[in-house]
């Protein structure tokens, strides 16, 4: 019986994993209502046939697969029709306008002033007066547009031409080069060896993690000691 339950657990796990992969990569906080409902049901459905060996495994698998198809169908309909999108997902609600908090909308969303303040604080604003617009998205997240004099200063506001940020890519972990990323970054292995040698690392094995940015900046951390930032003449195209 133990092996039966173990096998069932593994099969259900594989199926749920497959279904969640097919469903996409949205996280709980960014799920639309229908996605959250399906995820909750899936979690419950998966556990029933896992433990109850009297139930055929297929009785658990069929609803999971059906829900996966329903999810796909709803996603498709949501993309195709604005009307259905509003019906399935609901629509964003403006809770704070330039005139202040809209209490009617707040009540509609089953929220109170404390809830709104909590949500605002999570976005970094502690006072209603700092906010020009606060919009409760259909996935439950609050988006805030601050008043101009409360917004964080950007280099553009100061008339500064900032350098474009570059994305660091991991090229080596635990002494092993990540081939896929080496190909993507088009960085030469000999070039890396030279750079690492300059930083005091005799071989790749001495390095725990290394990243490279398109502007040639490298982050290198050995198996012991503090990390180092290396500047190089490498120029990437990503």
């Amino acid at each position: 019986m133990t092996f039966t339950i173990i096998s069932r657990a593994l099969i259900i796990y594989a199926i749920v994993l497959f279904i969640l992969r097919v469903m996409g990569k949205r996280q709980v906080g960014t799920m639309q209502p229908y996605e959250l409902v399906i995820t909750l049901i899936i979690a419950d459905l998966a556990t029933i046939p896992m433990a109850d060996t009297a139930l055929p495994l297929i009785h658990g698998i069929i609803p999971l697969l059906v829900l996966c198809c329903v999810h796909f169908l709803l996603g498709f309909l949501e993309r195709k029709s604005i009307l259905l999108r509003k019906f399935i997902n609901g629509k964003p609600v403006i809770l704070i306008t330039p005139e202040g908090v809209d209490y009617g909308k707040l009540k509609e969303c089953n929220m109170n002033f404390n809830d709104l303040q909590d949500a605002l604080r999570e976005t970094g604003y502690f006072n209603f007066s700092e906010v020009l617009y606060a919009i409760l998205q259909s996935n439950g997240k609050l988006s805030v547009l601050p008043r101009s004099n409360e917004a964080p200063i950007k280099p553009k506001d100061m008339g500064i031409e900032a350098e474009q940020a570059s994305l660091p890519i991991i090229i080596l972990t635990k002494g092993k080069l990540i081939k896929e990323n080496i190909i993507y970054t088009k960085v030469d292995e000999n070039f890396l060896k030279k750079q690492f040698k300059k930083a005091g690392f005799e071989s790749f094995k001495d390095i725990m993690v290394a990243t490279i940015s398109s502007d040639g900046t490298m982050y290198v951390q050995g198996r012991t000691g503090k990390f180092q930032t290396l500047e190089s003449d490498f120029s990437g195209s990503w």
């Binding site: 097919v22 060996t53 139930l55 297929i58 009785h59 697969l65 059906v66 198809c69």
Partner: protein
């Protein structure tokens, strides 16, 4: 595109299951239902000496056991066990010419079969 293919595979899988259930499982249950109904009648007719039905009832039991593994894909295992146990008891009571207990078991079996048919069907009662 890839997701579409997955959904297509899932749909084909579900349809195959539905067809399998309809063709194989329902077919087996119908055959069983018919056999049990016939044998029930024969028990009434041979009440004085039911041992003559031993081969017939063993045949039904063998038919069931041969197909049980296929049905267990779709059917609650506990229900299948109930039917197997009832068939086993029926064979033993028949061998011992115990008409009273045999008639109870064959009656139960008949009910199980009718009930399973009802369970498998697509109806508003089952949905609700």
């Amino acid at each position: 595109m890839r997701r579409g293919i997955y959904i297509l595979i899932i749909t084909v899988f579900l349809l195959t299951l539905a067809i399998f259930e309809y063709v194989a499982v329902v077919n087996i249950l119908n055959t069983m239902k018919e056999s049990v109904s016939n044998i029930r009648q024969q028990y009434y007719e041979n009440a004085a000496n039911i041992t003559v039905l031993k081969d017939d009832v063993t045949e039904i039991k063998d038919y069931w056991l041969d197909r049980e593994s296929a049905i267990c894909l779709m059917f609650n295992h506990k229900d299948l066990d109930d039917i197997s146990n009832t068939l086993t008891k029926l064979v033993i009571y028949t061998e011992n010419n115990d008409y009273y207990n045999a008639s109870v078991e064959v009656g139960l079996l008949d009910e199980y079969m009718k009930h399973s048919d009802h369970k498998m069907s697509f109806s508003i009662h089952n949905i609700l």
